[in-house]
């Protein structure tokens, strides 16, 4: 897919997105992140029930050549993981905002979202 940063998402400067719905949010990595990483060939999802902390790595994605941490844009408890990425991690490249989602989290502090970037601010960050 072409480079894009949907307006309905909130962005973390470590190239992660959150789709917030009340006190839950879905997380993934941005188009920029998947492009920088290259072809994702392995993803080992975290466990449902585990906790994630804002700004901390909660999982990792691997290309043929490199490993990259994935950072939590917000804090909470993992209520669902994208099991389909086990067998099809390339969805992270093909559809980073859709089929390439990583975890769904019940937020412990929804007010944290105030510190995230909107699409325009994130795009400005990428342009340095």
């Amino acid at each position: 897919m072409d480079e894009s940063y949907p307006d309905d998402l909130r962005y973390h400067p470590e190239h992660d997105w959150a789709r917030i719905d009340g006190d839950e949010a879905v997380f993934g990595v941005t188009w920029y992140a998947q492009d920088a990483l290259g072809e994702v060939v392995f993803y080992d999802p975290p466990e449902v029930g585990g906790t994630v902390s804002k700004d901390q790595a909660y999982t990792e994605v691997e290309s043929v050549k490199a490993v990259s941490d994935v950072f939590a844009p917000l804090s909470g408890e993992i209520v669902a993981v994208n099991e389909a990425l086990n067998d099809g991690p390339e969805a992270i490249n093909a559809d980073p905002y859709g089929d390439g989602w990583m975890v769904k989290v019940r937020l412990s502090d929804p007010a944290e979202a105030g510190s995230l970037l909107d699409a325009d601010a994130y795009k400005a960050l990428l342009q340095g």
């Binding site: 400067p13 072809e39 490199a66 990259s68």
Partner: protein, 385 residues
């Protein structure tokens, strides 16, 4: 023989714990050297990274896996102009190289290639090298990261020999054309006959005089071409016109690892002897080369470098700890094999755990992954029986 990256995410030094932001900045250094093919790489959609002081293409538009498979099924071309060349000539050239290189250079026939290592007095490996005998001179190809140190090392030890040891890297570009269709693609650009494996020939290829060598680093048939840098772009263009696919250092690493070729800085270092590394076949102790007394004294190594493959999920990476029934080891190279679809690598393990079939475990950032010591090469796998 690709050296490790001094900076940047690719080429052996994996950024296992760094966020993506720093990865993106890794190639923005301004002091990097460029090969004459730099704008050809950009035109082919290359992702350029810092690699041993050079700005080199790690992959092109298609990505590492696609390039890897192109070399296994067709033909790919690698710009390896960052590698160095040292010319040794003079009445004592052979005697001198016999003194410093591990292999028996007296057995190297004119126009042929020979692999060897350069050892310190204590037997630690300074570099691994290909040398070519070209009439009354020798050309030795070095790893980019080691080139200047290799040249200094050789120059220092040349006193007492009637020999000239010249750094001729600036006079050479190098292209590796590899894959089952590689020879046909190069043959179509020359009237001459391509050299056999481990042979050489000086031929006009695409109108340019090249030293064509029947060597490579992929486990596939193919040739490597050394030529004057100013002619490299024309040769590159001619190869691409024949359908040869541009292939980057990322695929070069996965290809060499499937073939179980050593990468200096990963699998070879000054902390390891060539015997531990499985390069005893290239170390002729009777020649008395520098380091051979230490290797003789050391006797049988306690650890050995072995290829392995994961039997479950995961990708091994350089530095991952290894557990065996006989004790601990360490992964020196690891990747996902594009051809096998599983994690593969090389690791130093206790000698009693080095037999093919031995079950081992690899600690990949806190997760224990199951693996098995394998025969080399990992790809193509040896047929049973």
């Amino acid at each position: 023989m690709v050296p490790p990256a001094s900076t940047g995410p690719f080429g052996g030094q994996y950024l296992s714990e760094e966020p993506l932001a720093s990865r993106a900045l890794a190639s923005s250094t301004s002091t990097l050297r460029r090969t004459p093919l730099c704008d050809r790489h950009v035109a082919a959609g290359a992702r350029l990274v810092a690699f041993a002081g050079w700005e080199m293409p790690v992959q092109y538009e298609g990505g590492v896996r696609e390039e890897h498979l192109a070399v296994r099924s067709g033909a790919g071309v690698f710009d390896v102009s960052h590698m160095g060349e040292i010319e040794t000539r003079g009445p004592d050239a052979e005697a001198f190289l016999q003194h410093v290189l591990s292999n028996d250079i007296s057995k190297l026939a004119d126009g042929r290639a020979q692999y060897s290592v350069l050892c310190r007095e204590d037997g630690g490996v300074l570099d691994d090298l290909f040398s070519y005998r070209l009439g009354d001179r020798f050309l030795t190809v070095t790893n980019a990261a080691n080139h200047e140190a290799d040249h200094a090392w050789l120059a220092q030890r040349a006193s007492g020999f009637e020999v000239e040891v010249e750094d001729v890297a600036a006079r050479h570009s190098m292209l590796a054309v590899q894959g089952p269709d590689a020879r046909a693609a190069v043959a179509a650009l020359t009237d001459g006959e391509l050299p056999a494996r481990m042979g050489t020939a000086i031929l006009s290829v695409a109108g340019t005089e090249c030293l064509v060598c029947g060597t490579g680093y992929t486990g596939e048939d193919g040739v490597e071409l050394l030529l004057a840098p100013e002619h490299a772009p024309a040769l590159w263009d001619a190869l691409l016109d024949r359908g040869v696919v541009p292939t980057g250092l990322g695929a070069r690493d996965t290809l060499r690892l499937e073939a179980c070729f050593h990468l200096y800085g990963n699998d070879l270092s000054t902390d390891r002897s060539p015997i531990e590394a499985g390069l005893g076949w290239a170390c002729k102790l009777d020649t008395g080369f520098v380091g051979s007394p230490a290797l003789r004294r050391a006797g049988e190594p306690l650890q050995r470098l072995v290829p392995f493959a994961f039997t479950g999920p995961g990708i091994p990476r350089q530095g991952n700890p290894v557990r065996t029934e006989a004790g601990a080891g360490v992964v020196t190279s690891g990747t996902l094999s594009p051809c096998l679809g599983i994690g593969i690598g090389m690791a130093y393990v206790p000698a009693s755990a080095a037999s093919p079939g031995t079950a081992i475990e690899v600690d990949v950032r806190g997760k224990l992954r199951t693996a098995e010591v394998r025969e080399k090469p990992l790809y193509p796998p040896r047929k049973a029986g």
